[in-house]
């Protein structure tokens, strides 16, 4: 294990020192196979990681694409202090087609605004501005 570990270390260092500035993606490519080939857990906390961080930069960027985009509460963006139940068109995006109120995890609404929103939606339902359930 130790022998395996040792040769790995110099490789990324060399890779990073030589092409670091001019070409990022090629540097990332060689470092990529070296990581998964051995046990990456050992290589990770050791020396190569911080130095290989730059070649790893582009790879990280790739990873970031998988990270879910953070949803922002629409009412916070608008700085809404009050959600009007009379305006069905602003409430409509927050209900499902079947008429259910969408959960926070779907819409990204913050807790406070979701609280107000549910009240507003329920009021709108009572006066037939929004459906309780889909018809037919």
């Amino acid at each position: 294990m130790a022998e395996e570990h040792a040769p790995q270390q110099p490789a990324p260092v060399a890779a990073s020192s030589v092409p670091a500035a001019p070409s990022g993606p090629p540097a990332g490519a060689p470092s990529g196979p070296s990581g998964p080939s051995g046990p990456p857990r050992f290589g990770g906390p050791g020396g190569p990681r911080p130095q290989g961080g730059r070649p790893g930069g582009p790879a990280k960027r790739g990873k970031r694409n998988f990270v879910r985009k953070k949803k922002v509460c629409r009412f916070c963006v608008d700085k809404a202090d009050f959600i009007d139940y009379k305006r069905a068109e602003i409430l409509a995006p927050f209900i499902q087609e079947r008429g259910k109120i969408l959960p926070r995890r779907m819409t990204g609404t913050c807790a406070r605004h979701q609280r107000w929103l549910t009240v507003a939606i329920k009021r709108a339902q009572n006066i037939a501005l929004l459906p309780f359930a889909a018809e037919l």
Partner: protein, 142 residues
């Protein structure tokens, strides 16, 4: 007792003739003033498609009123009258003053915070973030 603000919406049958609509509105307004309350606003939204069928009808004539009152009995009386009135299909009264009060409060709070913010947080948050990234990169490459 403090004054309260109510929203009152009611839906009339879509086939109600215009004079009848005015008559219903007039009786409601009359009942409000009689009870010592004030009608702040009366708004005919007109015929609108309802989200679901009420009394087998898909459309209704919406009327929206804002009432200010210091007496809760007004609402009781109005709802009784709306229940009795034939062309009225649906009605809803919502007490709004507390929410409006909260809105005012939050608005004030935000304005105060906005006035304070530019001095405090902006220089602190913006400046250190950029330099820290720079030096690290510089030392590592050299």
């Amino acid at each position: 007792m403090e004054e309260r603000l109510y929203d009152l919406i009611f839906i009339l049958r879509p086939d109600t003739p215009e004079p009848e609509i005015d008559k219903v509105i007039a009786t409601i307004e009359h009942a409000t003033t009689e009870k010592g309350a004030k009608v702040e606003k009366t708004d005919k939204w007109g015929r609108r498609r309802m989200a679901y069928r009420v009394q087998r009808l898909r459309e209704g004539f919406y009327v929206y009123m804002v009432i200010r009152s210091s007496n809760g009995d007004v609402v009781k009386e109005l709802e009784r009258r709306l229940k009795v009135a034939d062309p009225v299909m649906k009605y809803l009264t919502v007490r709004l003053d507390e929410e409006l009060k909260r809105q005012e409060k939050l608005k004030k709070h935000r304005e105060r915070r906005a006035a304070r913010r530019p001095r405090k947080t902006v220089p602190g948050a913006a400046t250190p973030a950029a330099p820290t990234g720079g030096p690290e990169r510089a030392t590592a490459t050299s």
